[in-house]
Amino acid sequence: MLLNRTSSGGRWRIRPDGPAKVTGELTYLTDMTKEDMLYGLVLRSEHPHARIISVQTDKAKQLQGVHAVLTYMDVPGLNAFGIAHPDQPVLCEDRARYVGDAIATVAAETLAIAQQALEQIEVEYEILPPVDDPELAILDDAPLLHPQGNTLHRTAFNRGDAEEGFKLCTHIIEETYYTPRQMHTYMETEGGLFVPGDDGRLTVYSPTQHGFMDRLQLSRILAIPQSDIRIVSSPIGGSFGGKDELNVQPYGALLAVNTGRPIKMHNSRWESVRAGLKRHPMKITMKTGTDADGKLLAHQVYIISDTGPYSTLGAEVLNFATEHVIGPYRYEHLDVKGVSVFTNNGMSGEFRGFGGNQAIFALEGQMDRLAERLGLEPWAFRKLNMRQLDDLGPFDQPIAMTEGADQVWDAVSTSPLWLEREKIPLEGQSAAEPWIKTGIGAAFTMHGAGLGVGIPDPAGGRLELAVDGKIEAVFGYEEFGQGLIAALEQMLIEQFDFAQEDIRIIIGDTDVVPDSGSTTASRATAMMWKSLQRLHTPFTEQLLERAGAIVGRPAEQLRLSEGGVRKKVGDELLITYGELAKAEGEPIRCETSFVFPTSPTDRVGAHFMYTYSAVAVKVELNTLTGRVKVLQQYHAVAAGPVINPQGFLGQIEGGSSMALGFALMEDAVMEKGHYMTRNLDTYLVPTIADQRGKIEVQPIEHLPENDEHGPRGIGEVGSVTLAPAIAAAIHQASGKWVTKLPIDPSYLQETPFFLSKAVNGE
């Protein structure tokens, strides 16, 4: 059954944070102010690559209203940050490696004074040639951006002998695919309020996807204990991976500690583009071969990823891409290599899909080309080579088995949209407007959730009865628009029978919440579900035993319900949660902590839990302009039970809208290390007018009987498969193969048929 409002019935709930968001009432962290606050700004490098000879701050410091002008010499602790490998300078010492590199930071009484102070800072640069091409950057004669060289990370995975395998192949497709530097384009740009307390502690109100990681990183920079820092990190106006790494926090924190005054920082969109993360642009070369019957024999891949100047999660993204270019198919021989390369381009980093988007565009492109070469229907060709139920994962690692691959394949193959494909005339021509061509394509993925083997991946949460009688659910996860609060509320209502009014959800405050790990990698809802499973019995027992003692009945005869505890039979409310909270006794509180399940393998980054998903898409190509419109989408997603129908739909639709941008228009264009798209008037994301087509979402909720892992992640998959499906649809429409995203309209443009001499031979 398709997922929508009607089919969801009573499970379709208005999300608790919805009304305040759509009315604009909600105060985001970047809306916060404090009476005596100062404004913080950052001076960033003018050049993508330069030696810094000197930084003179005297003039800036002398300006009236300026309270601090800090350089690297004012960083008390580690002058570096980075989730995986801290190598990005908080403030540059002698070298700037990209146009967002921070050189100084200023606090002043007004924004205008702070701006003027930035202009008064004199930086003497020796301009160095920018290393802007990752392929040149790894050559021996390239200027070194880091002492250890320009290679951040290399990956390799082999099975069998690919060279020998290709000798046995009847059909071989070789192709190179290019993907763009996509921007997260969250509505709320980076910022926050940084408040030094009278107790010597620092409170940071600033969006992040992992408060405890920010706390750790800031404690290293400030050289103060983590316990002296409190991170308040939700609500967030969008993140998509882009705010997981530190952004303005080091500067706000340094300025607050230095001046003793609250500091407000909020990036303009211009600064957000310049300094912020983007999706890794990748060039993926593939050679894939089959035997005469279409059975995959050998698959060879080389990924080159432009990671920009510093590490952040560049290595982890490459690991993910390396796993996902293998994907859900069986091959005898595999030879996969990848390299993540430092350049003087913008910072690349974490972004919804995490390297899967690039990998699947290439991999599914190969599948469609091979199918055509073989004269096979493309979906049937996939089935021929698809993984079987108990196959190992892409890295030959044990994985949590589900029938997801088959279920998703079946759903697409019988979907009306896919069946319509056969009815589209050759090269999709319409009779009335022959320059309009339509086509239908589809693509498939298995997308890993969690951080993977070798990376700490804690999870957990807490339930307690608060003194005012509210049931508090306390988790270290973040609400950045994805609907986490709504999902948690729905689980508490459905699994415990609480009423909405009984519940208080507390997230995003390191002083209060347990370390539940990061809100990334499609993991949070699954980990909340797992936490509640673990907490259900002990928490219920504690509540019922306390209630039983008060009302004088055995706990076994009682049940939790809306408003309080009732008899198992009958509707009578025996005691409210408020009364229960006032009763004598130890606080009622249960906490759980565990780790995200991982595969028993040594392969770093290998995943254990996967979501299977596929999309069929119908597009319309106008050959006069070369422009493509997406007319209709059908998504099949095998991710276990749907926790929150509205949230599920929102994730798939929202992810698909990002994928539409990735496929058709989004690219942060750089020339010689400078952004050409510096604002949203040139960096274009899809508007509602680009997304008028119908989107259907088919959730496949079935899991194997003995499955203990529950719902799989759906935060990313919606963004993964659409681009290759669009490319396949364009091929049906026009006969052309797209290899580069975003799709260049000039490649699809044709001279009108009525001008061709052959036809016009009269």
Binding site: D31, K264, S268, P752, L755, V759, N760
Partner: protein
């Protein structure tokens, strides 16, 4: 809300003249340190991007009486320069007599911006997306030069404005669109009993997304075909991006009066590629823009011709 880092220590002064003469006087007084501001929607983007410095004096045109009216004058429809794009878009006179202009205006920016931006501002930007449609309608501009009102053909002004070092201190008062007897009968009335002519007209804007996008190519095509298949009238204008819009007068003259057939369409296509000289940027090459414009233009004629050409007929 993001802080505006462009905020300066000395904010500009905003003058609110009540008459054109007063506005012109401010411009004389403050010269290059001042700018006429209507909706300010485009200027703001220039200041923000650093493409132009924010001057010390804004001369706000919104209070000048009579500049936001749309009315029928002796020689045509007069549209006050301060008319908002949204007012133009919904104006029944414009909708009835100048549908391509309405189509063009509807394609500009987004609703919130069209509520602020003015038709005068769009024209004064030289590369506004309304301009090609207005060119096809033979629009004129009414300027105030400090003493009198001056009328100038839009096409003439665009030629002058395209010259390097061009400077214009005049104030754009209004836009005049001639009401021709045939257009007044209704542009889209193909079966009019008064005419055996088949009329056609279309405005196209191609951007990098479907809405709220800077244009890559704009093209307006309008004309009529006799019942014997001859091209009776033709007006073609092209623009887009930073390209100054122009009429393709040369090819209009070459094809008017000829039969609309494959040969003519090929000629039109080739000449459009030659005559249209778009400015390129990192997002779209000149050759893509040329091909797009030529494709759209010939296809309009092909559609008007009855779609037989090239179909074996």
């Amino acid at each position: 809300m993001s802080m505006n880092v462009q905020e300066t220590l000395t904010s500009p002064l905003v003058w609110h003249p009540q008459t054109a003469a007063e506005a012109w006087q401010y411009k004389q007084t403050y010269g290059i340190h001042s700018v006429f501001v209507a909706g300010g929607t485009l200027l703001r983007t220039h200041w923000e991007s650093g493409a132009a410095p924010m001057p010390q004096h804004f001369i706000d045109l919104s209070a000048i009486r009579g500049l936001n009216e749309i009315r029928v004058g002796e020689e045509g429809l007069l549209i006050g320069g301060q008319s908002k794009l949204q007012e133009c878009r919904t104006n029944p006179l414009l909708q009835r007599h100048f549908p391509m202009a309405v189509d063009a205006i509807r394609s500009i920016a987004a609703p919130s911006i069209r509520n602020l931006a003015t038709i005068g501002g769009n024209i004064a930007s030289i590369v506004g997306d309304s301009v090609p449609a207005l060119l096809v309608y033979d629009a004129s501009l009414i300027w105030y030069n400090g003493q009198t009102e001056q009328e100038e053909k839009l096409s003439d002004w665009l030629l002058a404005a395209g010259q390097s070092g061009y400077r214009n201190d005049r104030l754009l008062l209004s836009l005049k669109l001639p009401l021709k007897s045939e257009t007044s009968r209704g542009d889209r009335d193909e079966n009019s009993t008064n005419s055996k002519m088949k009329r056609f007209g279309a405005f196209h804007k191609v951007g990098r997304r479907e809405a709220f996008t800077p244009s890559v190519v704009t093209a307006a095509v309008s004309g009529s075909i006799t019942d014997t298949g001859l091209l009776n009238k033709i007006q073609i204008a092209v623009g887009g991006g930073q390209t100054i819009p122009r009429r393709l007068i040369e090819v209009e003259k070459e094809i008017v009066g000829t039969a609309v057939d494959g040969e003519m369409l090929r000629h039109l296509f080739d000449r459009a590629l030659e005559l249209y000289e778009p400015r390129e940027d990192v997002f779209a090459s000149a050759s893509y823009r040329k091909q797009t414009a030529a494709n759209l233009i010939v296809t309009e004629l092909w559609k008007a011709s009855g779609r037989f050409i090239g179909q074996g007929g």
